[in-house]
């Protein structure tokens, strides 16, 4: 009697887990199937592969060795550099972008705004080799920018300036980071209703008090969200980094790149996956709050 009961429970358990997946799949309406299949094959599976293989060693057994390796140099340094690059580039981009976005809003004009939106869209998509070479050409030892500044008596190279440095990278990244900021943050700035400023003034707030109690608190969430987006953008950038560095700065995307190029040692077969997993985790930590804040603030940015 008890046997049958147990076996019934066991059988039920197995079928219910299969059944749950079955039910989940059944819930997806027919027209959405192509989309989900596509995403599964070309997105979820690769991501799953990364997550799984990160914990496997060369023989396929479960191991944390790859993950532990991440916390040792040179990989720890790579993560440190990438995160710093992300933070600093995000800071530069968000601050300059903020100032420009406010200037755009103040200057007004529908035509101007449309023009700026178009240009920002274009600049935000600029990167990789073209961008790198544009800067190298302009700021290289014989570039126009250098000669231009030299005519003012400013010799950047004398100051030890080089584009192939961390700060050079930040400067080049700004070329697309600032437009991204403008694109993402402008809606927040234009959502500041004139009525709020006038009400505040009417109720006794000076300009400073308005910004302190109304303007800044309202803009802060969007600013934070934009910062996070810029961080993720700089952190994950590959093409531009590869074009700009000559192997002197270790960044996580570059390390993964060289591993995938076949520069592996025997025990590092799955290290690339571990690094990629690390990138995914950090990116998620930045992007999920970004998406969350965006969805909340869009409610009052009607």
């Amino acid at each position: 009697m008890s046997n049958t009961a147990e076996s019934t429970v066991v059988v039920k358990g197995a079928s219910s887990s299969r059944g749950a997946l079955h039910r989940l799949i059944k819930q997806i309406p027919l027209p959405l199937i192509p989309l989900f299949i596509f995403l599964t094959v070309f997105f979820f599976l690769p991501i799953g592969k990364v997550a799984l293989n990160a914990f496997e060693d060369n023989d396929g057994a479960y191991t944390l060795a790859n993950i532990r390796l991440l916390f040792q140099d040179p990989y720890r340094l790579a993560f440190r550099n990438s995160i710093s690059l992300g933070l600093i580039s995000a800071l530069v981009g968000s601050v300059f972008g903020l100032v420009i976005a406010i200037a755009i809003e103040k200057r007004g004009g529908v035509k101007l705004k449309k023009f700026i939106a178009s240009i920002s869209g274009v600049l935000a998509n600029t990167g990789g080799v073209p961008l790198a070479f544009m800067f190298l050409a302009a700021f290289g030892p014989e570039g126009l920018m250098i000669t231009f500044l030299k005519s003012f008596g400013i010799d950047l190279y004398e100051w030890g300036f080089t584009l192939f440095s961390f700060s050079g990278l930040v400067i080049v990244y700004s070329y697309f980071q600032i437009p991204i900021m403008i694109i993402v943050f402008s809606p927040a700035v234009s959502s500041l209703r004139r009525e709020w400023q006038e009400s505040a003034e009417n109720l006794g707030a000076s300009r400073f008090a308005y910004w302190q109690r109304v303007g800044v608190p309202i803009l802060l969430p969007s600013f934070l969200a934009s910062f996070l987006l810029l961080f993720a953008s700089a952190f994950s950038a590959y093409a531009t980094a590869r074009a700009m560095t000559v192997g002197n700065i270790t960044l996580v995307p570059l390390v993964i790149g060289s591993l995938l190029d076949g520069n592996v040692t025997i025990n590092q077969a799955n290290l690339g996956y571990a690094l990629a997993l690390g990138m995914i985790v950090i990116s998620i930590l930045a992007m999920v709050p970004y998406l969350y804040i965006q969805s909340r603030t869009s409610k009052w940015q009607q």
């Binding site: 991501i47 200037a103 274009v122 190298l136 126009l144 990629a276 990116s283 998406l291």
Partner: protein, 262 residues
């Protein structure tokens, strides 16, 4: 007179900021253009470097490869996204949230990480052709193309149009051709352009999956000839800019105008 000065001074700081910004945007570009036009030194200029580009052996071939990859990416993208989003809008709000969330996921994952997984996770029959990139490009473009289609369709009461057309006696075929297609056409164009722009310049996936496309070819060739490389970069920059700019500036005009006519 005083009024004019007063108004101007209010906008002055903003104008200055914008002018300075424009200066810093265009100066590198001008500098690079100048550099690319040099012929032997900073004093002589010609289109020599640009001629060099076209003479390179890989130019036509790799441009063709990128063209193929882009075309397939566009076709796949539209084939999957347009019916899906149209159906979502016609059938009601129920699944929109789900699809919204799912299509934004590619944005959260760095392309480098995706490439790492794609190396071994993709079906093997695809691995043998550069066209496997097209499929990945569709995934990367998905957040943007979904949004473009979704926003475009949200502005139109598609359900009402369909109901009105049916009420006036149109068959389903007629409804599709005369009502749905014209309504979604601007958004389809938008999604198309986004995919094209993305595919033309995509470097990371191509490089990490060891394929040669136009962008990766440019990167390789750049190491030999700096002037030529710069010309190549400037040229592709201008081209990409022209493409994107003309679409966003003139393409959206079309969309806006149709809104006004409504």
């Amino acid at each position: 007179m005083k009024k004019i000065l007063e108004n101007a001074s209010k906008k002055l700081p903003s104008t200055i900021i914008l002018l300075v910004t424009a200066f810093f945007i265009f100066l590198p570009l001008i500098g690079a253009t100048e550099f690319s036009l040099r012929d032997g030194g900073p004093d002589k200029h010609s289109f020599q470097s640009y001629k060099w580009i076209f003479e390179q052996s890989g130019f036509k071939e790799n441009l063709g490869i990128t063209f193929q990859v882009t075309s397939l990416a566009v076709i796949l993208n539209l084939l999957i996204m347009v019916p899906t989003v149209t159906w979502l809008h016609i059938s009601g709000q129920k699944y929109r949230r789900l699809v919204e969330v799912v299509t934004i996921l590619p944005l959260i994952i760095p392309v480098v990480a995706l490439a790492t997984g794609a190396q071994t996770a993709l079906p093997s029959f695809l691995h043998n052709t550069v066209l496997e990139l097209s499929f990945m490009y569709v995934v990367i473009a998905m957040p943007y193309s979904y949004r473009a289609l979704d926003i475009g369709l949200s502005g139109k009461p598609l359900n009402t149009y369909v109901a009105a057309a049916r009420n006036l006696g149109a068959s389903w075929y007629k409804v599709l051709v005369s009502v749905i297609m014209p309504s979604i056409w601007p958004s389809v164009l938008a999604a198309l352009f986004l995919t094209v722009a993305l595919s033309l310049g995509e470097f990371t996936l191509a490089q990490l999956l060891h394929w040669t496309t136009f962008p990766t070819w440019v990167a390789n060739v750049s190491q030999e000839n700096i002037l030529g490389a710069t010309a190549l970069s400037v040229g592709s920059l201008f081209f990409a800019w022209l493409l994107l700019f003309s679409f966003t500036f003139f393409g959206t005009n079309k969309i806006d105008r149709s809104k006004d006519e409504e």
